[in-house]
Each structure stands twice: as structure tokens, then as C-alpha cells.
């Protein structure tokens, strides 16, 4: 099988301006991956599937990964001009001070694809694509028209991570129910306070129920009172 470098060269020869980047994998598995530019992903996918030598006809695994915004603390050397009085004379000197600054590295959502070839019996070739950010620009192209096996797996990623796959024929939630908000597999997901499902209500649960009722007005609170009122 071709190495990742050779696959990168083949893609760039077939799809001009593809902009493929190799992501090294330092672990013992040495499964290096290729990061694709989402704008060219469908053309690249078609090439990988239909190329006679690669023949990656089997998309085995599609999954999402969440990379939240990261605060990075860095020590920076800063040169400042300071005015000081030395021996009764005012002097302007330059001083180098070390400062700790924090900068936020913007996060993203990533889709990872594991491709194999049934015809040539080789693999895996790992592809990755990143969204622009985690909140507003969540769109990636769908590869379901190329490999049907992505159909349910992309729906699952849409459900659990919130990546929107443009061009998917039937993009709905897969595992959570339709009215559900939020995406449970994200790293910053907070589980709801589900006191009402506690099998045996005890003091702590009743206190949480009271707090929940205070927070929610109207019908929901009334329903909660009815459920826990007798205990």
C-alpha cells in the first residue's frame, strides 16, 4: 500500500489545489492521517474511491472529535521603556520583563474517516476534516453520496456533536429524540438535573426537586409537585 506521503501526492495531482496536510500520529500504531480542506473533500473522496490503485471502496468508520477552545498560558519576554531616578538623575532605560499571558486557541469539531479497500485488501487510510469553530460555522461536506456507510454515522455525529453535513440526504438525529437540544458528546456538555428519574426519593432528591421547581415555573413545576408531592 502507498504511504501517506504518496497518497497526498496522488491527491494533489488529481485534485488541483486540494491542500492536503499530513497529521503525524506519534503513537505505536503509526496510523498517520491526512487533513482535507472541506471545500475539496467531495472531489478527493470520489478520487480515493475510484482510483484504480488506491480503490478505497469501503468507508469503515466515521466519527467526530471535539476540540474545545484552549487557554494557553505563555511566558513572553516584553521590553518596556521605564523612567527611573538613578543617583538623583532621571533616566530612561529599557527593561526586559517576563510576563505570563493567556491566549485562547479557538476550538473546532473534527470528523475522522477510516477507509479500507475491499478490492485491494489494504488500509486504513485516515482522513480528517475540521469545522471553522464550535458555535456558528459547523458545516462540513457529506460523503454519504460517495460511501453510503456514512449515512447513519454522519447522522450520529450530527446528533452527538452537532456537525452539519451538507449534502446528506436525510440529516436527522439518530440516537437522541427529535425534540432534544444540545449535543451530548461535546466536552462541555452538562447533564440535565434528572432528579425525577431517581428510583427512591430521599431528602437530597427532594431538596433538588424543590430547587428545580423554584427554577421552572408553570406547567412543568406543577407536574413536578404532583410527582414528588406524596413523598
Amino acid at each position: 500500500m502507498k504511504t501517506v506521503e504518496e497518497i497526498k501526492a496522488a491527491i494533489e495531482a488529481a485534485v488541483p489545489g486540494a491542500g492536503v496536510e499530513i497529521v503525524p500520529n506519534p503513537s505505536a500504531s503509526a496510523q498517520h492521517s491526512l487533513r482535507l480542506n472541506p471545500a475539496h473533500a467531495v472531489a478527493i473522496a470520489k478520487f480515493l474511491r475510484d482510483d484504480a490503485e488506491l480503490a478505497l471502496d469501503f468507508l469503515s468508520n466515521v466519527t467526530g472529535v471535539d476540540w474545545p477552545d484552549k487557554e494557553i498560558a505563555e511566558k513572553v519576554k516584553v521590553t518596556r521603556t521605564v523612567t527611573r531616578t538613578v543617583d538623583g538623575v532621571e533616566q530612561t532605560i529599557e527593561e526586559t520583563v517576563e510576563e505570563t499571558r493567556t491566549r485562547v486557541e479557538p476550538g473546532c469539531l473534527e470528523a475522522v474517516y477510516h477507509l479500507f479497500s475491499v478490492a485491494k485488501k489494504h488500509g486504513p487510510v485516515v482522513l480528517r476534516m475540521r469545522t471553522v469553530n464550535r458555535s456558528t460555522q459547523l458545516e462540513l461536506p457529506s460523503v454519504t453520496p460517495i460511501w453510503r456507510s456514512a449515512e447513519f454515522q454522519e447522522r450520529e455525529i450530527f446528533d452527538l456533536y452537532g456537525i452539519v453535513f451538507a449534502g446528506h440526504p436525510d440529516l436527522r438525529r439518530l440516537l437522541m429524540w427529535d425534540g432534544f437540544k444540545d449535543h451530548p458528546m461535546r466536552r462541555d456538555y452538562v447533564e440535565p438535573d434528572d432528579f425525577e428519574y431517581e428510583p427512591t426519593a430521599h431528602d437530597e432528591v427532594l431538596a433538588r426537586a424543590a430547587a428545580h421547581r423554584a427554577e421552572h415555573s408553570g406547567q412543568e413545576a406543577a407536574a413536578g409537585q404532583e410527582r414528588t408531592g406524596g413523598q
Binding site: A28, S29, F58, L59, T63, S149, F152, M176, P184
Partner: protein, 392 residues
């Protein structure tokens, strides 16, 4: 092979791999039925929303999630080893192959070697799992066809013997939690190996009996031949794996392709179907049981002595270096893969299960369209799923 009245969807996309759109006949009045989540043929809590024109299936949409517990999220909050017992609950018919796939992925991530005796034990347990899975899945399929009891009880009689072996070795019949990164948890005693040899010696007679009872049964042939056809090019494109793929005539067995563990030491054949229908899927499972018995006989003959755990393997305080790995095995239901990303911490940063049961259901609609509602039960049964793995 084309169904009359079958019109292709008009679309700009490359749409040969989409389910066809079937026009209703007559006045076009459709009956919509929700089969499940408590339908006895759905092996648990699975729903199919079916639109019927008379008895003919026009549309079928599977609905998932009734058993969803976010296995992957839970695994990201606990240690690597802590997930091992939880993998048993994925495909609870085949706990040992789940253990094996997870151990294999972690071993790939850290470059861990496995001692030879442990590899043999893994093969023995994996193939016993395959035999009991295939036997019971055929039993379920035929039970759903209307043969109440007998074939399923024959299968369960054999499954019981194999589960007794699992219990004797691992302490549990179904929730085995047996494999570790770099080996297995407890060693097999000579008495256990002899008991296994005895059970394996009895298996060919069981498969012969099962085969004679069922394979040329007129009702089974009438109900399953030519039903639920899955074309090989669609099967590959839709990521179908395991006996389903091989029944469609595609020669792809990960035991042969990857040769993981020590599978390249054993002689076995890969049976392939040539009619691509439900009967082929039934027959492939019978033939795979025979091949598994052959592997078991070879493994039980050659099993060496020695340690079952790599002494350098770390279980507690296990922190793999940053990186990622995808490991996969040929589980009885298809390709079971685990994808792990480590950030150097004690918990996996990302833990993903590639469930064969879920992905094999991608083509359920394609296989069922245009057939009778009674055949949907059979086609669905021939996929062989477990909801613990579909919904995770």
C-alpha cells in the same frame, strides 16, 4: 432482479447507492405501521416505520436510540481498563469478541505484545463465541419465521454448553470481562482445556443435525430463497461486513485480511454466497460454524504453555502516550472496531465503537423495498443485530 414499477430517484448526486423510490399502485393509499419498539421480532427495542401499499413495503425507516446510554461518553470519563467490563454490554451475545477488539485497539495504541498462550486462548474463546452466536442467530431467524421453539432450543442447548465453559474460565456466562491489555486475566486449567475439547468434539454432530434439520426444509427454502437480495457493490459501498457481506459474495474476512492475533497460523476457508439472499446468509452462518470448529480443533491441539500476561504490561496507572489508534476484528456480526485518541491522560480523550450491527442496518431499507411485510421480519432477522451495540 429488478422489481416492476421500480423508479430511480431523480437527483444530481451519484445516486446508484440510494434506496429506489417505489410508486404505489392503485389508488395510492398507504398504510403506515410502526413495527416496534416492542415487536417480538425486533430483538429488543428497535422500531421500523413502514409504509405499506397493501402488503408491499414502499418505504422503511429504522428508528434507533431506545437503548442509548452514551457508552462512548461514559468511557471517556473512566480509565482505559475501567471500560473493559463495559464492552461486554455492547453485543451481549458475544462479550469475548468485544473484549478482544478493545484490547487489540489499546495494544495498537501502546505497541503492546501479547504472549502466545494468551493469543491461543483468545482464538479459542473468539471462535467459541462465533459458534454460539451463529447458532443462536439462526435459531432466532427461524423462530421468527414461525418454527416455534425447536431450532432455537437446539441452538440454545449448544450455547448453554459453551456458556458453561465461559463461566468456568471467566466467572461469568455473559459478562466475561476476560481480556486485558497484553494478555488475559486468568489462565485456563488443563481440566478446562479438556472440557473444551470435549464440547468441541461434540459440535460437528450438532452442526450436522442442525443442517439436516433446516437446510433442505421446504418451508424455509420457500420463505428465504430470493428474498432480501443485497448486491455486492452496494454491500461494500454501504460498509456491510461479516456474514452479511460474505453472503453477498464478497471475499472479505478480517481474520484473513489483517491476520490479527495468530489467525494466519490456522487453516480455514471463507464461505461465500452466490445468490445474495436470506437463505445464503443462513447457509453462510452454518458453514462458518464448521470452519470455526476447524480452527478450534487446531488451536486446542497446538496451545502452548507459558505466561498469559506480558509481565511488562501496565494495568493500573496506565497512561498511553499521546496519539491515536484504530483496531478492528472480525466479530461474529461483522467488523467491530475501536478508535481511541489518547492525550497522555489516564482516560481516553476519544473512545469510539464502530458497531457492525448499526452499520449493517444501513441497507435494511434497500433489501426490504418491494417485498411483503412478512418478509421484512425475515430480512431483518438475517442481518443479525443486538440492540446493545446498535444504540450503545
Amino acid at each position: 432482479m429488478t422489481t416492476p414499477g421500480l423508479a430511480r430517484r431523480k437527483s444530481k448526486l451519484d445516486d446508484w447507492n440510494r434506496p429506489p423510490v417505489i410508486e404505489p399502485s392503485g389508488d395510492g393509499e398507504l398504510l403506515e405501521v410502526a413495527m416496534g419498539p416492542h415487536h417480538p421480532s425486533t430483538h429488543g427495542v428497535f422500531r421500523m416505520d413502514v409504509a405499506l401499499d397493501g402488503e408491499r413495503v414502499i418505504r422503511l425507516k429504522p428508528v434507533f436510540g431506545y437503548l442509548h446510554r452514551n457508552h462512548e461518553k461514559i468511557a471517556e470519563d473512566i480509565s482505559y481498563l475501567g471500560s473493559m467490563p463495559y464492552t461486554d454490554r455492547l453485543d451481549y451475545i458475544c462479550p469475548l469478541t468485544n473484549n478482544w477488539a478493545y484490547a487489540l485497539a489499546v495494544e495498537k495504541l501502546v505497541g503492546q505484545e501479547v504472549p502466545e498462550r494468551a493469543e491461543y486462548l483468545r482464538v479459542i474463546l473468539g471462535e467459541l463465541t462465533r459458534v454460539q452466536n451463529h447458532a443462536s442467530s439462526i435459531g432466532f431467524l427461524i423462530q421468527e419465521m414461525g418454527a416455534s421453539g425447536t431450532p432455537l432450543m437446539y441452538a440454545f442447548r449448544e450455547r448453554e454448553k459453551i456458556l458453561d465453559l465461559f463461566e468456568a474460565l471467566t466467572g461469568a456466562r455473559m459478562m466475561c470481562n476476560y481480556m486485558r491489555f497484553g494478555g488475559c486475566r486468568v489462565d485456563a486449567t488443563p481440566a478446562w482445556l479438556n472440557a473444551t475439547r470435549k464440547v468441541v468434539a461434540g459440535l460437528p454432530a450438532f452442526v450436522d443435525e442442525f443442517d439436516q434439520l433446516l437446510s433442505s426444509n421446504e418451508i424455509l427454502m420457500a420463505r428465504t430463497q430470493g428474498v432480501g437480495i443485497l448486491r455486492p457493490e452496494l454491500a461494500v459501498n454501504a460498509g456491510v461486513t461479516g456474514p452479511m457481506l460474505r453472503a453477498s459474495g464478497v471475499n472479505y474476512d478480517i481474520r484473513k485480511v489483517d491476520g490479527y492475533g495468530i489467525y494466519n497460523r490456522f487453516n480455514f476457508r471463507v464461505p461465500l454466497g452466490d445468490h445474495w439472499d436470506v437463505y445464503d446468509r443462513f447457509m453462510i452462518r452454518i458453514l462458518e460454524m464448521r470452519e470455526s470448529i476447524g480452527i478450534l480443533e487446531q488451536a486446542l491441539k497446538d496451545i502452548p504453555g507459558g505466561p498469559i500476561m506480558d509481565p511488562k504490561a501496565k494495568l493500573r496507572g496506565f497512561r498511553p502516550k499521546p496519539g491515536e489508534a484504530y483496531g478492528r476484528i472480525e466479530a461474529p456480526k461483522g467488523e467491530l472496531g475501536f478508535y481511541l485518541i489518547s492525550d497522555g491522560g489516564p482516560n481516553p480523550y476519544r473512545y469510539r465503537v464502530r458497531p457492525p450491527s448499526l452499520i449493517n442496518l444501513t441497507v435494511l431499507e434497500d433489501m426490504c423495498l418491494g417485498s411483503d411485510i412478512a418478509d421484512v421480519v425475515l430480512i431483518f432477522g438475517s442481518v443479525d443485530i443486538v440492540l446493545g451495540e446498535v444504540d450503545r
